[in-house]
């Protein structure tokens, strides 16, 4: 593990800003902030936006590279940092700044854990549609900065659809904001949208304004098992074309069903494809979903159809939400891709995946949401044979690298191109493959944006597309 050293004066400057108690420098404690095998020379824990701004200004002046973090559940996402001097730990920015249940609006700091926030909102019969991985640790800032996958996006959209505005600190140490706190607003440029999914490379998020949503009276989850990908896909299409309004609809290949434990739980063939659908609303609305879905599943040739209610209802959705964690538990050397695919090519992608993975002696898991709109989801690949599980041999790396390349190419070809990027993989592999696929024509515009927000490359340099 490489270590980073700051000069005495640089350290003194950081300590002077926050005091020694909030400046961590001992190597043992710093291991918690490791990113792709790199340790920072210090971790600092500011308490508010003003302190964040001071720290970023100090870092800019000293030409230090800063990576913002909080729950540290998603630090494996992104390229190997070009430099990493200071971990900017935002866990002390954990206040619920304002919450107006009557208006269904909320302002929070980035270090608030999503689990805690959902509990608070639940007391007022509301929630945020952020069902993200590592839910026990994940924070608002991380979920937004990584645009974390949530199976509920089929119904509620992604963060860009329910984040109303943000306050943030740019790479120049300016505190700025965009958007607002009301549910409808077109005042000024929507700069905050740029920060969603930017991995902290543009600005440090210090406050997020959300719209919240009422909790439904009832929730039920349905799973249907199919022998073939095509049949599962046809079922998804039928649901999308129906008047039903599911909260989530996800197609899982046998590998995904296996790692999630769904294969063992449900009374169906372990090699089956599964479709998981969440319905919510009044008893009548949920009942209608139950009736219609069962009929549609039968018509699509489902081998099995199950309804999960009460405490069990959370299980299948949890399996999807925690896809990344489950894949990593299955194999520490798993390569996990985030994919965006049009419904028309989802089945083709699923079939390509099996062929490509098989040719490289890899196992594959796929979970893709596809409710009527363009689908998004995950693919995980890991070595079939245990002897290769460490994935450090050149041969294993080469095999992963070409599988990922082929998959990205397959996903990106044809009239309805899919997009994919590697969200998570062993560091050694990160150095060998392009995590982001081929360069795109708008890259020069992304460079302009980076230059506006962080001209000196202080914030998470090297972590984003094309080394931004």
């Amino acid at each position: 593990m490489s270590e980073n050293l700051l000069s005495e004066t640089q350290l003194a400057r950081l300590e002077q800003l926050l005091g020694a108690a909030r400046t961590v420098t001992d190597p043992a404690s710093l291991t918690a902030y490791e990113v792709d095998g790199m340790l920072p020379a210090a971790a600092v824990r500011p308490a508010d936006a003003a302190e964040v701004a001071e720290l970023v200004r100090a870092a800019a002046a000293e030409k230090l590279a800063v990576i913002p973090c909080s729950g540290r559940s998603k630090l494996s996402i992104g390229g190997v940092p070009a430099r990493y001097d200071v971990a900017l730990d935002l866990s002390a920015l954990n206040r619920l700044v304002s919450y107006d249940p009557g208006d269904l609006t909320l302002s929070v700091e980035p270090g608030v854990r999503i689990q805690d926030l959902q509990r608070e909102l639940g007391q007022h019969g509301q929630f945020l549609p952020l069902e993200v991985a590592f839910s026990d640790r994940a924070t608002v800032g991380g979920a937004i900065a990584t645009n974390a996958y949530s199976p509920l996006r089929a119904h509620f959209g992604s963060a860009r659809d329910f984040v109303l505005g943000m306050e943030f600190v740019t790479g120049l140490g300016e505190i700025a904001k965009s958007g607002g706190r009301v549910v409808k607003n077109v005042t000024g440029y929507d700069l905050h949208k740029l920060l969603i999914g930017s991995l902290g490379t543009l600005a440090v998020i210090t406050r997020v304004h959300f719209r919240t949503f009422p909790r439904p009276a009832e929730r039920r989850v349905f799973t249907a098992a199919f022998d073939k990908a095509r049949a599962a896909h046809e079922f998804c299409r039928a649901v999308a074309a129906s008047p039903l309004e599911p909260r989530a609809i996800e197609m899982l290949n046998p590998g995904a069903a296996e790692i999630s434990g769904l294969a063992a739980q449900a009374a169906a063939d372990a090699r089956a494809w599964r479709v998981v659908i969440a319905a919510a609303g009044s008893a009548a609305v949920v009942g209608r979903h139950a009736r219609d879905l069962e009929r549609m599943a039968r018509e699509a040739g489902a081998a099995n159809f199950e309804a999960w209610s009460g405490a069990d209802a959370a299980k299948p959705l949890r399996a999807i939400r925690e896809f990344v964690r489950l894949a990593l538990e299955r194999s520490a050397s798993a390569v996990i891709l985030r994919i965006a695919v049009l419904p028309a090519s989802a089945a083709a992608l699923a079939e390509n995946l099996a062929v490509i993975a098989g040719a490289h002696d890899l196992d594959a898991a796929l979970a893709v949401g596809s409710a009527g709109s363009a689908g998004t989801g995950y693919v995980a690949l890991w070595p079939r044979s245990e002897s290769r599980a460490d994935a450090v041999t050149d041969e294993a790396q080469a095999s992963f690298a070409s599988a990922v390349k082929e998959l990205l190419e397959a996903a990106g070809s044809g009239g309805a191109p899919a997009r994919a990027f590697v969200e998570c993989c062993p560091t050694a592999l990160k150095r060998r493959i392009s995590l982001w696929g081929a360069a795109r024509e708008d890259f020069e515009l992304m460079q302009r944006v980076k230059k506006i927000f962080d001209p000196h490359g202080v914030l998470a340099p090297g972590r984003y597309c094309g080394g931004l």
């Binding site: 249940p101 019969g125 077109v186 005042t187 969603i196 999914g197 028309a344 597309c465």
Partner: protein, 522 residues
Amino acid sequence: MCTCLQGAERRGARDAGGVALTPPRGEDYSGARARFSRDCAHKSLNPKLIRELQNLLGRDAVLFAREDLLLYEYDGSVEIARPECVVFPSSTREVSEIMRLAKRYETPLVGRGAGTGLSGGALPRAGGIVAVFSRMNRILEIDAESRRAVVQPGVVNLDITRAVEHLGLYFAPDPSSQKSCTIGGNVSENAGGPHTLAYGVTTNHVTGLEIVLPDDGRVVRIGGKTAEPLGYDLTGLMVGSEGTLAIVTEITVRLSRKPEAVKTLLAVYDAVDDATESVVEITRRGITPAACEMLDGWTLRTVEDFVHAGFPRDCAAVLLLEVEGLAEAAEEQAAEISEVCRAHGAREVRLARDARERDLLWKGRKNAFGAIGRLSPSYYVLDGVIPRTRLPATLRRIEEIGRAYGFRIGNIFHAGDGNLHPLILFDPRNAGEFERVVAAAREIIQYCIAMGGALTGEHGVGMEKNELMPLMFTPEDLALMARVRDAFNPDALLNPQKILPLGKGCGELRVLPQTAASALPA
């Protein structure tokens, strides 16, 4: 600090003044218009540029005679600014070439759809070329399975729905002007509409764009058909940037599936407060109607005289509510809304019996501004947002402000999301009246912001409210926005003098002075 004023805007600025919320000092409204016309009349483009435009586009696609230009000096706002030349591109390549010519001749370029905008977004504030997109009005692709359509900017909003409704799909954003406004304008202004309460505004329904960059006319595609942006969300930045960052030449929109059931309700009230309290309670209960519109009694009577929608003439306010979705959900929500409205003093809750009745109610709502236009020589439609719980207090305050200034203020607005449209009737022929309208409007907007709201919910900032931006944003916020603008539009040739305060000096950047009637309540 004065950083938000630096950069290209200032360099590219030609003095063309401004009206509405940033009135010309010491001149009445008619004077302002006259001054504008004079200013614009003497400007004319370099004849060489006009010849080059004619060679590029053909003679019939270039207008420069004064009588032709007069048609393009207005939009739906109270602003006015005359172009020196109007062009009608037919393709992305032509737009790119026009941009290059504008750059070479250092001439401002402003895009225009149907000219229905309400904040002067399509007006050439610094003169120059206006590019009208009426010839780029083709729907290029409909992908029913992925629920996407790829369209040119000149396509009329409602025509997208018309083209896909046989597939059970529609385009959700529905501004009142949807029969004439274009998708290009909707994208520039991030347009809303009554049904955005449940479904979101334009930005939630656009996944990709083709844009022409102002610095070199380069054509770039951003976003795409898939829902997830890979890379910074440039599409999210472009939508609502009011044509100041790039020219949009192609749009990929998300299509929505038509709901199984729609129920439209009209709740009738004898007191405005009862109507607004009903909205607060509907929101608080977590019911999300597809639309929740309010019309006050005066507006309603005016509309009824014109549209004959069957609105009651003797009430203080109505709520026009719509619920959609599965038959079961629509049924239950309609019943619950009905119960809330009655509990809050509605004297009657009507349910539209069929599509004809429903269409009639909506016809009344969507033609309201036209109806009011019959009554008054002029009117000014404001656009402000408040947290929904503040609705009752805010409407009372608007009423007070109207009384203090001696204006009739009508209210017809998107109550469900707190997006107000106070409508001030005035006669611009009366000396000083427009200035008082501006002062009253500013007080209302300041009140909205003091309530935690926003400067504009759907009409945009444009040249109407750019000097009010400091009410919502700090100099640092505005400086960053200016850097973004300058990075994309470095010579300020594209739609100059919009959105950001021009601020001729630091003093003018500060919050505008309090006006007549009263200061803001604490």
